[in-house]
């Protein structure tokens, strides 16, 4: 192998890491709240339809929503309880969507403990056939837990049209504040390794890499040690990558680890790759070995505006308000509640918004920690300094796209490859004129999608 430590991609930014709030906090299981809300669309693909009725009683792990489509994932109840209502629920990304409200059974509301201690070095993935693994993954409702929420089965299932040979595990966690994947790699090492081996078996990948930013040396060491104990150091390589945002972007990760570039507008399987997040691997192991569906996940609650930051193992569907209360409440200086990290997360105004399968973090920012967020700084016209071009990890021209969108010139925006934008926000982050470039580009994509629908 070449020099492993400073592998990276072109462009990107380096915001303050701010991981010190939570990196040493062990994962803590949280008891389910009185009521949870499960939005029926927590993944990319066809939204689920409810398969329970009002007043039905449900048990933990029971399917409450599914869709008969290839690209979709069923949704399970994390608790025992009674379906209170099926109605519109707030959703962090798409505004409002149908959701199932479940009142938790007060008799059985002990926190569920993670399954990590049930895995060890002796785990043997050969006991499961690829078909078994894919079925368990589909039935378990697994989706990419890094943020996009693409159904995992579709990703790992062997596809003769696009054969895969390399599996890359994304342990970068390049967003500031977030530490959930880091804790998971440290504490649940065996479970993560088991998940990686199962995924590789299902996808029939023989080359496996785990990419981790070099600001997490303990995680790198933990995984390397674990792998050498299983005598897998040869087959699964832990790659240390330069700490830079967005190192954990799928296309950037591939570039950094393999030096290969996913074509513009293309997807990783086109060049024989499959990329999975570490949290997804852990959930995959649980789903395959214990038949445990994805109903709980680790969420980092961090930022200067929360009393007790930490990494929590929470039932999916718990509302942001309940989680904040569990963490001791917001401090007085709280100015922004972000579901996700500060670079790509969604700021929410309605604290009853539930956590979904893709919510890895809840970041509570004060005016000061949000770098006096753009809006408090003086905004000027674009001075064409070119910093956004330098920062763009996809080699685009953000200011040109943003200005085209501003003047509703979608044709011009397309000339500058608007659809190739990965919405990482690096351009907005560096802009000295405080222009919300990423915001304009996202708006442009929405407008274009709307226009397409109108024409269709």
């Amino acid at each position: 192998m070449k020099l492993l430590s400073k592998m990276t991609f072109k462009g990107g930014v380096h915001p303050l890491e701010n991981k010190q709030f939570t990196e040493s906090r062990a994962i803590e299981a949280v008891a389910p709240p009185k009521q949870i809300v499960l939005p029926l669309c927590q993944h990319i693909g066809v939204p689920c339809k409810p398969v329970v009725n009002k007043k039905d009683s449900v048990t933990a792990g029971q399917v409450i929503g599914r869709a008969d489509a290839f690209i979709s994932a069923p949704i399970h109840s994390p608790v025992n309880g009674i379906v209170k209502d099926i109605a519109l629920a707030p959703h962090p990304v798409i505004g409002r969507t149908l959701g199932v409200y479940i009142d938790t059974d007060p008799q059985s509301n002990a926190p569920r403990q993670p399954a990590a201690n049930r895995f060890d070095a002796a785990f043997d993935p050969q006991a499961y056939t690829p078909e078994q693994i894919c079925t368990a993954v589909q039935e378990g409702g697994l989706v990419g837990m890094g943020g996009a929420g693409f159904p995992t089965r579709v990703k790992i299932e062997a596809n003769p049209a696009m054969p895969k040979d390399t599996l890359i595990i994304n342990g970068c966690e390049c967003e500031p504040f977030i530490t959930c994947d880091y804790r998971l790699m440290l504490e649940w090492t065996w479970q993560v390794i088991a998940g990686i081996r199962l995924a590789a078996r299902a996808a029939k990948c023989t080359k496996i890499f785990i990419g981790i930013e070099d600001n997490k040396p303990q995680a790198i060491q933990a995984l390397r040690q674990g792998l050498s104990q299983c005598r897998l150091s040869e087959e699964i390589r832990v790659v240390s990558l330069k700490t830079k945002y967005p190192q954990g972007g799928e296309r950037q990760l591939i570039r950094s680890v393999l030096g290969r570039q996913v074509p513009t507008g293309g997807i990783p399987p086109q060049i024989g790759l499959c990329v999975l997040n570490t949290a997804t691997c852990a959930a995959l192991a649980e789903a395959v070995v214990f038949g445990q569906p994805l109903t709980h996940r680790v969420v980092t609650v961090s930022g200067c505006a929360i009393a007790r930051p930490g990494n929590y193992y929470v039932p999916i569907g718990m509302s942001v308000r309940d989680l904040i209360e569990h963490c001791g409440g917001l401090t007085e200086s709280a100015a922004r509640v972000v579901l996700g990290g500060p670079m790509m997360g969604f700021s929410i105004a309605d604290l009853s918004t539930p956590l979904t399968k893709t919510s890895g973090a809840l970041t509570l920012l004060t005016i000061e920690t949000s770098c006096c967020a753009k809006y408090n700084k003086q905004r000027t016209a674009c001075i064409r300094c070119g910093r956004c071009l330098e920062a763009c990890p996809e080699g685009l021209n953000p200011t040109k796209i943003a200005h085209a969108v501003k003047h509703f010139r979608m044709d011009r925006a397309d000339e500058y490859f608007m659809s190739a934008c990965i919405e990482c926000g690096s351009c907005s982050y560096v802009c000295p004129a405080q222009i919300d470039l990423a915001g304009y580009i996202k708006t442009g994509k929405l407008l274009k999608a709307r226009e397409k629908r109108r024409l269709a």
């Binding site: 074509p263 513009t264 709280a334 700084k377 000027t380 064409r384 490859f417 990423a438 915001g439 996202k442």
Partner: protein, 335 residues
């Protein structure tokens, strides 16, 4: 009681950088040259620089008032325009001419085009071109630096030799017309580097400009591509001419240190508003500026060409941007 919780598109944090800070960096970068100007031209330097900055700020304030727009003085861009304009005026320029230039720069070139970020031409250079056309004599009268002793060669043709002095580039022009020897021009190279020579207020000391330019490069206020391409292309052209006819053409070092080459390469051509965005475009722009400077200096009638070279390339830079589009990291999409 909770504060107001606000929402906006991501990202929710941003780098600690503002337009004002960028402009402030340019001002800091100009400090060494301002100091040099004060050393060589004393009171005149202070007078002209303060006049230009004051007139620029006042014109911008009035424009904002008339346009009923929020005040833009605190982004400091008017200060930068004033300083650059002041630095590129001859020391003996009458104060009212400096005021006219400043008003032209801000009102006509900057604000009428839409203010910061919208101007096509570098305001200071356009104003200087305007002054050259309207006050030709005042714009080409060069004072002897206060530090000069009588050892400096003085152009015999210039009448009251005590107050005017030929610039190194004027010598070089004479040499091209075979009225003088190129070696005489070359003998001024050291003075051109340190600044003990006739010329515009801020352009005389190449050393001070290089120090300021390096500061801007370290702060990443300017990208290195433009100064590098301007200096490389101008250096290459002058080297070729010099190698071809050393008795007629001055040495490349004199061309690099003389005239407005350094201030042009580090402070004027790098004005981001009027330069292309892409790296490829910036190379092309810089090569164009450097090439045109040398074309004017070696072939044209004027001894100096920085101003026109920059203005011509300013006009071309939207076109350059159109030509030199960035190709995405993943290559062009197959449509």
């Amino acid at each position: 009681m909770l504060n107001k919780i606000t929402v906006s598109p991501a990202p929710h944090i941003s780098a600690n950088l503002t337009t004002r800070r960028v402009m402030l960096d340019v001002i800091i970068g100009l400090l060494p040259s301002m100091a040099a100007a004060l050393i060589f031209f004393r009171f005149r330097a202070a007078l002209i620089l303060l006049t230009c900055v004051g007139a620029c700020l006042l014109s911008e304030w009035i424009c904002d008032r008339i346009r009923k727009k929020p005040q833009t003085l605190d982004d400091l861009s008017a200060v930068v325009t004033g300083l650059i304009l002041g630095m590129s005026l001859p020391p003996a320029i009458p104060v009212f001419v400096a005021v006219i230039g400043s008003v032209f720069a801000i009102v006509i070139v900057k604000m009428l085009f839409g203010g910061l970020g919208s101007n096509v031409f570098n305001p200071a250079m356009a104003a200087r071109a305007f002054l050259t056309a309207t006050f030709g004599v005042a714009m080409t009268t060069w004072t002897v630096p206060a530090t000069t002793d009588s050892a400096m060669p003085i152009l015999s043709a210039a009448s009251p030799a005590a107050i005017t002095q030929a610039t190194p580039l004027a010598w070089s022009k004479m040499a091209q017309k075979k009225e003088a020897k190129a070696q005489e021009a070359n003998s001024m190279t050291v003075n051109a580097f340190w600044g003990n020579r006739g010329g515009c207020l801020g352009e005389t000391s190449a050393a001070a400009l290089i120090i300021g330019g390096v500061y801007l490069l370290i702060r990443k206020t300017i990208s290195w591509h433009i100064p590098a391409s301007v200096l490389l292309s101008a250096g290459a052209v002058s080297l070729a001419a010099w190698l071809l006819r050393p008795e007629q053409y001055a040495s490349p070092l004199l061309h690099l240190f003389g005239g407005g080459m350094m201030i042009g390469a580090f402070f004027i051509a790098t004005d981001p508003v009027t330069a292309p965005l892409t790296v490829k475009g910036r190379w092309l722009f810089g090569i164009g500026v450097g090439g045109l400077i040398m074309l004017i200096r070696l072939v044209g009638e004027y001894p100096e060409g920085v101003m026109y070279a920059v203005l011509i390339m300013n006009a071309l830079s939207p076109l350059i941007d159109r030509f030199c589009k960035r190709i995405p990291a993943g290559g062009l999409p197959n449509v």
